[in-house]
Amino acid sequence: MRHTLSVLVENNPGVLARVAGLFSRRGYNIDSLAVGRTENPDISRMTIVVEGDDRVLEQVVKQLRKLVDVIKVQDITSEQYVSRELLLLKVHADSNTRGEIMQIVEIFRARIVDIGPKTLTIEATGDEDKIEAIENALRPFGIKELVRTGKIALLRGSRTSNINGVKEEE
């Protein structure tokens, strides 16, 4: 099963290497990892999607917590959360297919962000299913290259998962 971990880390050099090294040496599989600064410049949040059964996940979470630079690890898989991924995709487009592609873009509420003589570059955000769907819909036209950010996620509602713990706020 795939789990989504929300991990707060100290923004120290090497912290990504510590986390990535832990996953590789203990044989855990990372599906995606997205990292960036939080509202506090000293702290970064990693959203890690990891594949494994409950036993593996228990170890992943505990081993992550052992890292001194890791402040907080939360498995939000079973929580209510909003998740997004950003996709940039360059697809083959000529005068015959351009219209159809633009329709698909419309349907998925994606955007065309660049145009070349024989290509369109498309930006899409959404959850994983949507990103998969748009990728599949555009594949027949010939995808030249694509890049995905990996999933980022936050808990729904006014709940936060900051360093002081999960809080139900007014």
């Binding site: 050099p13 290497a17 090294g21 630079d69 890791v70």
Partner: protein, 552 residues
């Protein structure tokens, strides 16, 4: 007060109470060694950085204090790696300080540059590359705090040369603030109550103690606990001495070369109370047939050890002392007569024995050492057959008396760790039990013992083989002794070359007399004992087998 980075380092070490450092100088640590020149810290110059790391480790294991070692950048730092990995596997508090090339040269493949923080990431509890002299004092204090608290372990601090040369204000940081590092010290009440209920209702309880008991200094509490519920006790290699080896409730070491009573008891118990252990594969054998009839209570300070190798019924995450105190308070006194009768029967039926007929037996050497030291020596071992015989035949009644590379199994550990142990405990008899293979992996440290007149007694159980590997070849590879027969130097002459007293024992007749002479000698001694060449360590659980199915 404005000081150089190097002076800050030395000052903060002094302020932390460090009086002993093992190390080896070099280009990138020149400023640090210059500052050390004015310090009251005693520095022991080893002959190889690996020796410095093991010595710091042995010092820590013998004293319970943090061991400190210094090395220069590049090869100096990489030579620490085996020592740090050894300390990491056995949860030993060590702080390693390495010099690094100047920050302006970092990342340019400069002379003697190695990315030692990258290299040691998986074998340290934490590590640092300090880029600002203003961060040095705080970093060192943090490193010591991390090394000795929670589950102890090694921490490395890498200091570029310009950082140790630059100036900054020195102030001892009184507080450590690490938001991501908060060891759990007391187990939850609910779990404690569950554990108490399980203990009270169990008919065949067994205590399995490990290095965590020793690290926590919880040996008295463990004794009180075992005696209150009259549970027999088995120990891992790292746990030896955490419970008195001669206590009637003690069944010996369990696992691959454990005693039959210990391994049978594990297989028969209905409750296994694991105290500061990590269920290593050398302990469990086939993990699916380990303690098949038992529910398991697992006390450990490291939450990640819970359910890592075996599933447990009740986890008690916290300091071993706190956990045992709560259990002792909560449990009812009990005496499981039938169970005790069974395990005492096992003890009577299956004592550790060996064939005494042909030649000088290595087991006899250990038994004799035990006899003539009254069980009061610190025994430091290398890795292999001699290590197992020392674990089996020397009875450890007190903690920190058996010092051995348990997890990593590092040949070459013994001599430098013995030097470290002797420095930490000058009043104690320190005996290094080694093999003819292991001793050659760090024999250069004989010079360290000679130079400082560190009176370690090195007993080499010399069988002319890499004995443990040969044993496996005999049992599992049709006696095809591939690369295990050793041509050895004359160890007496080798000792002599270092200015150390060398002795040789070839016959059992004068074994005791000669060993007595060796241990009573005032300086370091090397004793080359020619033992029966093809003796095997038994009992033995074949690798991956169930631990109640032993051979020998």
């Amino acid at each position: 007060m404005e000081l150089t980075g190097a002076q800050i380092l030395i000052k903060v070490l002094e302020d932390l109470g460090v009086d002993t450092v093992f190390g080896y100088p070099g280009g990138a640590v020149l400023p640090i060694y210059d500052a050390l020149y004015d310090s009251k810290i005693t520095h022991y110059l080893t002959r190889h950085e690996q020796g410095a790391a093991h010595a710091a480790d042995g010092y820590a294991r013998a004293s319970g204090k943090v061991g400190v070692c210094f090395a220069t950048s590049g090869p100096g730092a990489t030579n620490l790696v085996t020592g740090l990995a050894t300390a990491y596997m056995d949860s030993v508090p060590v702080v390693a300080i390495t010099g690094q090339v100047a920050t302006s040269l970092l990342g340019r493949d400069s002379f003697q540059e190695a990315d030692i923080t990258g290299i040691t990431m998986p074998i340290t509890k934490h590590n640092y590359l300090v880029k600002d002299p203003g961060d040095l004092a705080r970093t060192v204090v943090e490193a010591f705090y991390i090394a000795r608290t929670g589950r102890p372990g090694p921490v490395l601090i890498d200091i570029p040369k310009d950082v140790s040369a630059a100036r900054a204000r020195y102030e001892f940081p009184e507080k450590v603030e690490l938001p991501g590092y908060k060891p759990v010290l007391t187990p939850g009440e609910e779990e404690v109550n569950k554990a108490i209920a399980l203990i009270n209702s169990s008919e065949r309880p067994l205590i399995f103690t490990g290095g965590g008991t020793v690290n926590a200094g919880a040996e008295q509490l463990l004794l009180a606990f075992a005696e209150k519920i009259n549970a027999p006790v088995v120990a891992s290699l790292m746990g030896l001495g955490g419970f008195p080896g001669e206590h009637p409730l003690f069944l010996g070491m369990l696992g691959m070369h454990g005693t039959k009573p210990a391994n049978y008891a594990v297989s028969e118990c209905d409750l296994l109370i694991a105290v500061g252990v990590r269920f290593d594969d050398r302990v469990t054998g086939d993990v699916n047939s380990f303690a098949p009839k038992a529910k398991i209570i697992h006390i450990d300070i490291d939450p990640a050890e819970i359910n890592k190798n075996v599933r447990v019924e009740v986890p008690l995450v916290g300091d071993v002392k706190n956990s045992l105190e709560l259990l002792i308070k909560g449990v009812k006194e009990k005496k499981p007569e039938k169970w005790l009768q069974y395990v005492f029967g096992l003890k009577e039926k299956y004592p550790l024995t060996y064939n005494q007929e042909c030649g000088l037996k290595p087991q006899k050497v250990i038994e004799t050492l035990y006899k003539i030291t009254g069980g009061e020596a610190i025994i430091v071992t290398d890795v292999g057959q001699h290590q197992m015989w020392a674990a089996q035949f020397y009875k450890f009644n007190k903690p920190r008396r058996f010092i051995s590379s348990g997890g990593l199994g590092t040949m070459g550990f013994g001599l430098p760790a013995g030097i470290g142990a002797q420095v930490a405990r000058p009043e104690q008899q320190v005996i290094v039990v080694s093999g003819d293979g292991s001793i050659q992996m760090n024999s250069q440290e004989l010079m360290t013992a000679a130079a400082y007149n560190i009176p370690v007694k090195v007993i080499i159980l010399n069988n002319g083989y890499l004995g443990m590997v040969r044993q496996w070849q005999e049992l599992f590879h049709q006696r095809r002794y591939s690369q295990t027969k050793l041509k050895n130097p004359d160890f007496v002459k080798l000792a002599d070359a270092y200015g150390i007293r060398g002795m040789r024992i070839k016959k059992e007749e004068n074994l005791e007399e000669k060993l007595l002479e060796a241990i009573n000698y005032t300086g370091p001694v090397v004793v080359d004992v020619w033992v029966d060449r093809e003796e095997n360590v038994f009992p033995m659980v074949p690798p991956g087998g169930a631990i109640h199915k032993m051979i020998g």
